[in-house]
Symmetry: D2
Subunit: 374 residues, 4 copies
């Protein structure tokens, strides 16, 4: 197997013309597409419809190329979009493909796996049972990726359902105490359960370690390889696992690092160093071209200060805190990389250190690395 | 003479308690205060009243300590506030003081000069005549700073008036063609005139080089040491000049660099390098403590792209473009410095390269530097 | 001919299920649909993609029912969406249908006409020539509606192109002075030209009365029956004419009134009175059910005051002025009607009195009215 | 006693010049000022500093006229400001004065009373004990107003403290379970307790009727004469009571009505009818001049629909829901009154019917009314 990535720009959230062109020119075989991860230019909140618009157009495009109904495709190809291109961030999407290859890699190469669980029971959303069900899906996706050691996984993207007012009312009507008081609360709890689920699936924790009151309660418990989104539009746990595997060939590899806070420059230096890209000044030229995908989770510090200095993100009713943090962290990462096509997503509860988050980078391994068979 | 800087935090825009404490403890002599530069947590737009609120409180505090009416103080002590602490930025203000000192410095030290011009004629706002009048005030402030060579100036902050609808109507009634069509247009033209005025005052250009249609027309003409704000609340040109001078003693020095675009990491490395602070990883420990004030101007690229990738700042009607850019550039600079108390101001027309801006840093010179008398 | 209206709700901007159900149940014959007018829940600005999303879904739905490519449908069925459901406003769309009917009406009934012009020459956008070309399209739509007297027209909706940065550059490259300095400026000029074009088409003015400098210059010139939107997504002038005609049967009728300012309650009383719906308290019961469509244009007073009291809409950089005005005027109209499904659109230059706008209402004529043949 | 009202405009949130002029001309005796109620042009949220700015300037002005420190004045003269002049609303403030008068009124006249409680114990904020303490302050203010019958009270404004993160932590450290999970939650609970407190103070309920879980739990329990604001800046319960009393002279009277929902036009007709101002068309001329103060509380329906039609206020992360509702309800009330100087405040939990709110109007009684001694 071999992973191929195509990072494409969009002129607006309904624009899938760049992918259409690659499909038309047969540069990409539609059958090889196994996942999409991207940034659209909405506000990133409940009323951000740019994600739905793009997904709609994308699935229609694939429907035409695969002769499979869009509704079916949406149930087997994860399309993960984060709304909000604040500051310098550029709307774009990365198409992850999986091709068969006879080549033998001289080093472990990027491996991709996906999984869709059974529909999630509403009564368990945002509980330790939810975490356990996500752990199962993560294990399935690791298997799908052909990765043998959980330590070789560097990034796990999960989309998982949340409760809504209507679902909460239905649970109450059925005599069940709902595990969250509102849709917003449920989304946060579902993300927390997702992070714990990834931790279990990767063997960082056991299911027995997770308790309901840890979720949004004990932020010392976190997973630096988990990126979770929760929304009403999904009905089950959708998982994308990215790691390195000797079973895969190709020149791509992935690395990740936790970010200690929103200005943790050193984590960016470190993850690039892991990939043989030392940061002396801004990454440039051939080194910049080696960087193919940058994935970041971040969050405004919930205590209202960074390195002891007050920030104002949490009390601003004009700009959503997540819009603030994406803009700031996006500016920092783009500055180091020299490229504004960065996936930065907010809502990072238990996904990396509290007040920080994580960064994962996919890059082509250096020629030298390959030659030496390192 | 010797310059002293006090970088102080505020709990809200009406909070001057940190300065009050330093005045009460006689750590600062109120008579030594010659300028204030700070960031308040408003939106940075026309309807940002945090600047006025803070100035009001500050001048009341100084009135009590100096027995001089607040209105008079406001006409001799420039108080430059930039609204908007987007992302990680922290509300703070730097009090610039000027004390007499017998000490001899082993190297040129930070020098501060200020000037207030005569009231500005409304008919000239945003024209080459306005630029010329600002150049005069810049020269006065350089003289006040005791700087002999214009090349030793590293940062010039100007506050200058703009037209309003009422003023435009008054000009028209007087048979004069107003030099701008609206208040917003006039503010931009006034900033442009200010940048040209600083360029003339510093000897980068001559008054004859400047034409009215260059202003907001030829963005190839710019000054990387000019930081201009324009507003209805000022009646004349207020200028703060910061440079290095052998006539001044103390351990502080200033450097500056143009920023080529909003993600120009190398300019930050360079300006810190100029001050003997090489960036290997995030600046930390004793080196971070040497950094006393960071001043940045930035602007969303007016062509809608950064390094060829589309940005969405200019078309977002939910978040003002200047709020976007301050958050992104603030995140980048704070990440390198390891400190979120950064002055980042938007509206950077002709103040540094188009689509970029400038950065100036005041830091204590390294002990070694002083010993070697470098 | 007979006009039928279906006012439908949407759960989100991609939701056309209400229309799909009516098509599936054959309540609506897809071939009868001649126009759609609606409100989506975006921000109403350049970066509002809810309009494109809804149009996309709508045209896909009609494509399935009419076996005609969506692209072709978009060129013959005007779909006019206004983004922004501020305050109490509810996302909805009205489907305007045209059916053949043998019935004879006892009174003039609602008549609908549409027209699409040839592609608009970019060099003329926002000029008197643009106005003249729109007037031609208005006359075609009046003809299409079978209305004989221009005075019987009560509402003309126009969608027309605007310039973009790229188009402005192309004109300059071709040696043509562009008729606007920016995309935003061009949109406003195009709306102004549209209003003048409707005035000419309706015989309120002659083409000779219109001069380029009247557009955005003389707000005393206006048309109280013109509702104009301008956008990059259209290539020609699209027109919907609504009026009353003795050639049409059915129980619907339309009336309109100018609004003198944003709180002109009396205009609402008057337009409802025109339709036999006197306002004593909130319209209720059977009378409310008679009201089938409410169309409003409004604008923040450009002088910053309403009835001598300052408003703050124009200087708020957190909320767009058009979002402010839609919310306020929507609240007023919804309060009188007792229904929040109101089409309120901003950008009302020359569309009704300056600082005000216009209101048009489609309602079923009262039974009594028909009996008396009034 | 006689009540006098002065409704004054402000050019910006630091502008108290209108009051200063009336004090200088001795039109107002500073000693007669007993309360201020106004609207400033901030965002109305936690980070709205326009309220603090205005209060600061106001108290400084009164300090100069009363020779009493501003800090002391703030503890005996309630200054209630609501941020947010969305849509057509105009920034203004009403100065409530109390003068002695020998005149005998022919009818009950506007009566004003105020009260400040002891500092509020943090452990009780947002509980039934808090409600009971507010009820005590309400009774004191009724006594101060000289109103004998609680039914003669028409509007009670309360400012009361809330918990903050720091206060919650302090309670936990002291082994006390805090009555709210966050500052925002505490503000809402404090407003709920305030509404119940007013209901008790007015005799609509008894303290025994109120249970902790009613607060934000049972929205069927409400008070249509309670207007509550909660904030970190107050330390005790501050109360303003407005009613009618035969002990007071003058021509002013107050009336109030509950609003059933955000488009309840009839409530506005009714409250004006109560004051002898029947609404046929927009109130105009001499009748409009009789209206001296309009006070409104409103809230977005928490179930997401008004009269069965979906609204989008609660899910919009670009505009705060309270900003939405103020703009819409302000537009409606201003349209009926013909004046945009309306006090509209959000956060109306238990203050009027759920999803609605209340309206109170102070007007001069008609001459005829007085003559007939009605």
């Amino acid at each position: 197997m071999q992973a191929e990535l195509h990072r494409l720009s969009m002129a607006h959230p309904g624009d899938v013309s760049a992918l259409a062109a690659l499909l038309d020119s047969q540069t990409i075989d539609a059958r090889s597409i196994c996942a999409i991860i991207g940034k659209t230019e909405g506000n990133g909140g409940v009323n951000d419809f740019t994600r739905g618009y793009f997904t709609d157009r994308l699935m229609s495009l694939l429907e035409r190329h695969l002769n499979e109904p869009a509704e079916m495709l949406a149930q087997r190809i994860p399309c993960v979009l984060s709304g909000g291109t604040e500051g310098v961030l550029s709307p774009h999407y990365t198409v992850l493909c999986r091709t068969s290859s006879e080549a033998c890699s001289t080093a472990p190469s990027l491996a991709i796996g996906t999984a869709f669980s059974e529909p999630t029971d509403h009564a368990m959303i945002g509980t330790k049972a939810h975490a356990a069900s996500i752990a199962d899906a993560v294990r399935m996706a690791i298997l799908d990726a052909g990765i043998e050691d959980g330590d070789d996984v560097h990034f796990v993207q999960v989309k998982t359902p949340c409760l809504t007012s209507a679902r909460i009312a239905a649970l109450q009507a059925a005599g069940i105490t709902p595990p969250a008081s509102s849709a917003g609360h449920s989304m946060a709890r579902a993300r927390a359960a997702g992070a714990m689920g990834v931790a279990i699936g990767l063997g960082e924790m056991t299911a027995a370690d997770v308790h309901d009151d840890m979720l949004l309660g004990d932020f010392g418990a976190y997973c630096s390889r988990a990126s979770i989104s929760s929304g009403v539009e999904v009905g089950c746990n959708e998982v994308i696992v990215l790691g390195n595997s000797a079973r895969w060939s190709g020149t791509l590899a992935i690395a990740h690092r936790p970010m200690q806070d929103a200005i943790d420059l050193n984590s960016i230096h470190d993850v690039l160093g892991d990939l043989g890209l030392p940061v002396v000044r801004q990454i440039a030229g051939a080194e910049r071209e080696r960087i193919r995908c940058v994935l970041v989770k971040a969050e405004p510090d919930r205590h209202g200060a960074i390195r002891g200095q007050r920030h104002t993100m949490l009390n601003d009713i004009d700009i959503d805190p997540q819009r603030h943090i994406r803009g700031a962290v996006g500016g920092l990462v783009a500055g180091v990389i020299g490229d504004t096509r960065i996936f930065v997503s907010g809502g990072a509860e238990h996904q990396g250190p509290d007040g920080g988050g994580l960064i994962a980078v996919i890059a082509e391994r250096a020629a030298l690395t390959e030659l030496t068979g390192e």
